[in-house]
Assembly symmetry: C2
Homo-oligomer: 322 residues x 2
């Protein structure tokens, strides 16, 4: 491992940060140890930022809102890191969007760092190593981390478990979005933002906002001490963006004051530990010779997979429990 | 365990089938053994049906299309089981739709069996025990299993790994749906169906169909020997539903002829084995006293979760590798 990587990164060198993220995202076994050591070095420097998820379906205006919101934060003296979604094809593995140009202001801002994260096989946008990447960005001195995520099921739950505040975007007039599965995302949201509230769309955006307000008022909250807020914004007129910034700040202040902030952060570290355990244990188990011999039975004697799995795990843990 | 359950179920008793599904879906540890034994009994009777996934976003017309398509299948002499999505709230756990009335024809059809499956915490619609439920339905004599699923990321991949053919529904004129993340679902689809192609919507549906055709023609296919087909349907006029049925049949025939059908089925059994292993191993590991003592370090000395996890798993597997 390049021994200068950590000192450079912790001094705020963005080249070193990019290199570190590439290392952490690498799947090469040769990089695993260096990556783990780097995370260990960075962890004591981390945890001081505000971690914000901005989630929404494709076309909901995530990128342009982050571009505007992020620029206002840097103008106020913040250093902002954006982990942007770069949806990849689940089959070809190729990048679908592949451009950084969606956030032009931030891309040119010395106090902002925009990193497209390939969504890989997850179809959703939150990579397995997003937690690690957040730690790296914090160690490099970024005080606000924005995780952009495409609002699709599982990935919303995953990102919810990594951030301090969950902001969900809704599109003006897209009434259907309030039904069925999307309700799950509304339940998770701390703040809902109706985008594109300008021009011909303004009236519809206000109607959508009222409708969402009505819906969320009947939903169970995801936090014990916060009433969900619904805001409408326009990146064209700039309306609502300061309100959104203020609301995010007051949410964080309130969470900190009630101690829920700290409790959540510790829980998230424990969840991270659990995820790592499951991943490592799976890798180890699937590479055992006993695994291969059990798996071979499936095609041969038609044994039931759940029964075989139970026999295999029982025999495995007998040696642990001994 | 009720010893009459398996004989009744294998004789086609729907009451016994419902009871068996409830047993398999139960999370009570007391039910685990009976559930495993039942699956073992049913497995030799299973595997003879056609397994069809019908996937689409809320509002895409999944239920009414399944209602029509399923009725035609039973009219032709099939016995059809539908595992319908019943989206549950990720926080309250309560049912969102909760009705069986969405498929009125099938609900009243003696040759159809409709079972709403709670989507639980997965936000998506495919329950962990869908594989088991398919086996039960097949053992009860159903020759066509339709798995309805809400088109959201991860759950599409999960259901793709459980069925023989993946049918994706698109809504007429919803152009935005073709961008970004939805492309992932299009890549998985064997057959794409544009719904609601009637009345004022007919022209838009044909435009949508052409657009999807153009898109899928450039996509990598998910099968080696099948060119994706795009069909438009209307449950109001009945147009396109026979075409959809014929296309599904010719897809299955072609897969069987090329041997890909059998290879895929065996791979799916192996995947099932792997999933069970991961689940069982996770339960066992998280209940070890050593796990608790490692996890305790996180809040106390600020150790990095990935490092702690590696130490814990290494010590665990030393006793296995000995």
């Amino acid at each position: 491992m390049d021994e200068t990587l950590f000192p450079k990164l912790s001094a705020g060198d963005t080249g070193a940060l990019s290199q570190a993220i590439t290392l952490v995202e690498s799947n090469l076994p040769a990089h695993a140890e260096a990556s783990a050591r780097l995370i260990e070095q960075c962890l004591p420097l981390s945890g001081k930022s505000t971690r914000i998820a901005i989630s929404g379906t494709p076309g909901s205006g995530k990128s342009s809102l982050i571009n505007e919101y992020g620029s206002r934060l840097t103008a106020d003296g913040s250093r902002v890191a954006v982990l942007a979604v770069d949806p990849t094809s689940p089959i070809s593995g190729g990048s679908i969007l592949g451009d950084k140009t969606r956030m032009d202001k931030l891309a040119a801002d010395p106090n902002a760092f925009v990193r497209p994260t390939p969504s890989r096989g997850t179809l959703g946008g939150v990579a397995r190593d997003t937690r690690e990447v957040i730690v790296l960005c914090e160690a490099a001195g970024y005080d606000t981390i924005i995780v952009e995520t495409v609002g699709v099921g599982q990935s919303e739950l995953a990102v919810y478990g990594m951030v301090d505040v969950f902001v969900l975007l809704g599109i003006a007039g897209a009434g259907d979005e309030l039904q069925g599965i999307k309700r799950g995302a509304l339940e998770l949201a701390d703040i809902v933002v109706v985008t594109k509230a300008d021009g011909d769309n303004k009236l519809r955006a206000e109607e959508t906002r009222s409708m969402i307000r009505g819906t969320v008022s009947m939903l169970p909250g995801s936090r014990s001490n916060w009433k969900k807020r619904v805001i409408s914004t326009s990146v064209t007129t700039g309306d609502g963006i300061d309100e959104m910034a203020t609301t995010i700040r007051s949410f964080i202040d309130q969470q900190r004051a009630s101690n829920e902030f700290e409790t959540t952060r510790i829980q998230q570290l424990k969840d991270w530990f659990d995820e790592e355990i499951v991943q490592l244990a799976t890798e180890r188990i699937l590479s055992l010779p006993e695994y291969a011999s059990f798996a071979g039975k499936i095609a041969n004697d038609g044994s039931a997979p759940p029964t075989l799995a139970r026999e295999f795990i029982d025999s495995l843990f007998r040696s642990i429990d001994k």
